[in-house]
């Protein structure tokens, strides 16, 4: 049963990377879109792509937290004790982002919108970096076992965490650029399709380069993870690489539809590869999934809650997406339909 819960946890992490990640990435492009005049059009596309359930994407983070603290409470304690600083920064970033989301649409003055937009954009970069650094710290076993505190500084300022942070920022930027190409196309905005396509290509190349460099970093800094990635998780790593390269080729040639699916595949498989590579540990080489899991009653409750979510929440979410995709009022034109 602990295995099932661990799988659910990783489903949550992957969903957060894909949905939340794309949102963070949109914030990244918002940040680098340039001055108010030059960046106006890209920002309009970014704004538009932010759908109605937008912040609900971040419920995946809460989901991961809840599963972690109920099912692997000791690991959660170790992680929060050790990684106090990056998690605190991430929490602040999320407050800034979330409240900018709450306020930005409700204010109309350009100056206000720009201020909220800036808070939104900057925190969109900081949060994934911190999350990546946290992942690096966990994956390298720098978080000690048994609810103990590790090194508060070097646990997350180290080669692998740096790699994790940079990779997270680059990957979400890539993912989001590919989505934005799609959104710009739906709006028939040729200039913006080209704009985001070029950025998606650059981000894909950079992400690939960082991932390649990562191989050497991991070999030196995280032998256990490296071993896992080159054995158990190798098929996933290869799948990710193939998806990445294929999406890059399609992006260069301008075939956007499949590029989108392939980019999702590339990111999902790299996150899953991390999970498979560090199996059977929650925290490599000290805390095993099977031995650190909470009592079976708790795990059952989590499985039940997850089942309810699949039955209740997913259809509702589907309904919302459907309503959002079709459906415009007569006066609103058909360009987004």
């Amino acid at each position: 049963m602990s295995t099932a819960v661990a799988v659910i946890l990783f489903v949550g992490v992957t969903a957060y990377a894909l949905f939340g990640g794309a949102d963070f990435g949109a914030g990244f492009w918002d940040l680098v879109a340039g001055g108010a005049v030059r960046g106006e059009r890209p920002r309009a596309v970014i704004d538009h792509s932010i759908g109605p359930v937008w912040e609900a994407n971040h419920v995946w983070l809460i989901f991961c937290f809840v599963v972690l603290w109920t099912s692997f409470p000791e690991a959660f304690a170790s992680i929060t004790l050790t990684l106090f600083v990056p998690l605190t920064i991430a929490a602040f970033g999320i407050v800034l982002r979330g409240s900018s989301f709450a306020f930005r649409k409700a204010v109309l003055r350009t100056r206000d919108r720009r201020n909220f937009g800036a808070a939104f954009a900057v925190s969109s970069v900081i949060v994934p970096f911190c999350m990546g650094a946290v992942a690096g710290a966990i994956a390298t076993g720098r978080v000690p076992a048994g609810g103990e505190a590790g090194d508060p500084v070097h646990s997350w300022i180290n080669p692998t965490s740096l790699l994790g942070g940079v990779l997270a920022v680059v990957v979400v930027a890539y993912l989001s650029a590919v989505y934005l190409v799609w959104d710009a196309r739906r709006a028939d905005d040729v200039a913006m399709v080209e704009y985001f396509r070029r950025r998606a290509v650059v981000a894909a190349v950079v992400a690939g380069a960082v991932a390649l460099a990562g191989i050497f970093i991991l070999r030196a800094d995280a032998p256990f993870l490296y071993h896992g990635l080159t054995t158990r998780a190798l098929p996933l790593v290869i799948a990710s690489a193939l998806c990445g390269v294929a999406s890059l080729v399609l992006l260069i040639r301008g075939a956007h539809r499949y590029a989108r699916i392939l980019s999702i595949g590339a990111v999902a498989s790299v996150v899953l590869a991390w999970g498979v590579a560090q199996w059977p540990y929650v925290i490599p080489e000290t805390m095993k999934v099977s031995t650190t899991a909470a009592p079976s009653g708790t795990l059952e409750a989590i499985l039940v809650a997850f089942g309810c979510a699949v039955v209740l929440v997913l259809p509702a979410l589907g309904l919302l997406y459907t309503l959002d995709q079709r459906s415009l009022l007569p006066g609103e034109g058909a360009e987004t339909g």
């Binding site: 059009r41 609900a56 419920v59 809460i62 809840v66 000791e74 407050v95 905005d189 509702a316 609103e332």
Partner: protein
């Protein structure tokens, strides 16, 4: 080296007090948004129902605008709620490490309800002009249900801290077996949850009504303001006497199950019968009570009317020295209790005034004094709720898990908590002020523009993208400019 020798000592401050302050502050802030998240959708649906049933234009405008304000407070509440889930780990890692398997369970369900609520808030806002009126009305109902059950789930976790159950410990104190139903349906849960849900309707009702009472005091006596006042105020006025009954039962539960909290509430240093109900006053370090007005025998009588003033109330002297709450904590609990009861009674009298006037004249009281007090009722009800929450939380001290784990054993060892505390306070002040400014701005805009546009709100549908720009766009163009 610079870090360890120079920076570290400056940052090294005992984290327990700061962790406690930060948790208290962030919870105190979040709890203001909770009633709006729980009850506003219900008021909106009442207005929506009226709008459809009676073709009432004012009710329609009200429901539409409320749904937009609601989205803003909901989004801010989601953010402050997310901070709390970070803080469980960042501030109380040892608590979560040891008890997460039990305490954490209700949150799995809370997450479910929260997700549902977020989705239907979006669908509801989306549906104003895109769904048939009654279909649209029904998409609001899940918000109300999910709001109630979501807050019940969170309160179940808090109630569990007051009455830990549903787990088995081994000889070294580790949780080895968890019964999720036992955790969620702990004995403190039903009354505590009822108390909070009713409080959510009272605070939400008075708070929203107070805004329209202000409007009426400024001479806006149109039907729109009248409805905006009547709908939430009536619900709150009905809920207030219910709350007194629920509160009374809950207090008796505390008398039986958390005698020390009860002793602090009633300021009872020594176990005795014929305990007076002390209004105000405080406990001294030597165990005497000074100041205040005593109503002879009242506390005993209220604890169990059957045995009357002969009811014995357990005193603070029965706590083992190591488990004693501090004098300051005891006085805080007692004073908060007095504030809750005092303000609660005031709100009850206001409700009675309203109810009687309505029964006789079939109208709301028009006197300026009624409107003035009603305009203050929002703030007063928030204070009442905060005071009640202080009684629950401080009354449990020194325990975080009643009789199992103390707060000081639960806190993080990270000595920089005071920095995050200061940062959180500044950030929340900013968020709070902005929330109010944004909502005022929305209100001004509604008054000027009229009409309805669902794009300018969080959770609202995506704005249709304007056609590709022409070269001469100006910077101050409204809308469509991010």
């Amino acid at each position: 080296m610079l870090f360890t020798e120079v920076v570290s000592p400056v940052l090294a401050v005992n984290p327990v007090t700061w962790a406690r302050s930060q948790m208290a502050f962030t919870l105190a802030a979040h709890i203001i948004l909770v009633p709006l998240g729980v009850s506003w959708a219900f008021f909106t649906l009442l207005a929506n129902y009226r709008a459809i049933r009676h073709q009432d234009e004012a009710a329609l405008a009200l429901a539409q605008r409320w749904s937009k304000y609601m989205a803003v407070t909901f989004a801010v509440g989601a953010v402050t709620g997310t901070v709390l889930s970070f803080e469980f780990g960042l501030l109380w890692p040892r608590f979560m490490g040891r008890w997460g398997g039990a305490f954490g369970v209700p949150f799995a369900f809370e997450g479910l309800f929260f997700f549902t609520e977020a989705i239907f808030v979006a669908i509801y806002i989306y549906g104003w002009r895109r769904l048939k009126p009654w279909t649209h009305f029904w998409t609001g109902v899940p918000i109300v249900i999910a709001g109630v059950f979501g807050s019940i789930s969170v309160i179940a976790a808090n109630a569990w801290m007051n009455d830990p159950s549903g787990f088995t410990l081994n000889s070294s104190g580790q949780v080895v077996k968890v019964d999720p139903m036992g955790v969620i349906f702990n004995r403190a849960m039903p009354l505590q949850a009822a108390h909070m849900v009713v409080a959510a309707y009272i605070v939400g009702g008075f708070l929203i009504a107070s805004v329209y009472a202000m409007g009426m005091l400024r001479g806006r006596n149109d039907r729109y303001h009248r409805l905006g006042f009547l709908i939430p105020f009536t619900v709150a006025a009905i809920a207030t006497p219910i709350q007194m009954a629920v509160g009374d039962s809950l207090t008796r539960w505390i008398y039986t199950n958390q005698p020390i909290k009860f002793a602090a509430i009633e300021l009872v240093p020594q176990t005795r019968s014929d305990v007076p109900e002390t209004l105000l006053g405080h406990l001294n370090a030597n165990g005497t009570v000074s100041g205040g007005i005593g109503i002879p025998g009242m506390a005993s009588w209220l604890s169990d009317p059957k045995t009357g003033t002969a009811t014995v109330v357990q005193g603070l002297n029965t706590v083992p020295v190591d488990d004693e709450p501090t004098i300051v904590q005891i006085n805080t609990v007692h004073l908060s209790w007095d504030i809750m009861i005092g303000l609660g009674t005031l709100l009850f009298l206001l409700s009675v005034w309203y109810g009687l006037y309505w029964a006789i004249r079939r109208d709301m009281p028009r006197s300026r004094w009624f409107l003035r007090i009603a305009a203050a009722s929002g703030i007063l009800s928030i204070l009442t709720m905060e005071a009640g929450w202080v009684v629950t939380e401080v009354g449990r001290q020194p325990w975080i898990v009643y009789n199992y784990m103390k707060v000081e054993d639960a806190a993080t060892g990270n000595t920089g908590v005071w920095i995050t505390f200061v940062a959180v306070v500044l950030l929340y002040i900013g968020v709070g002020v902005t929330t109010i400014l944004v909502m005022r701005g929305m209100s001004r805009r509604f008054r000027q523009d009229g009409g309805f546009d669902e794009h300018d709100t969080p959770y609202g549908p995506a704005e249709p993208l304007a056609p590709a720009p022409t070269p001469d766009h100006r910077d101050d163009q409204p809308v469509a400019v991010p």
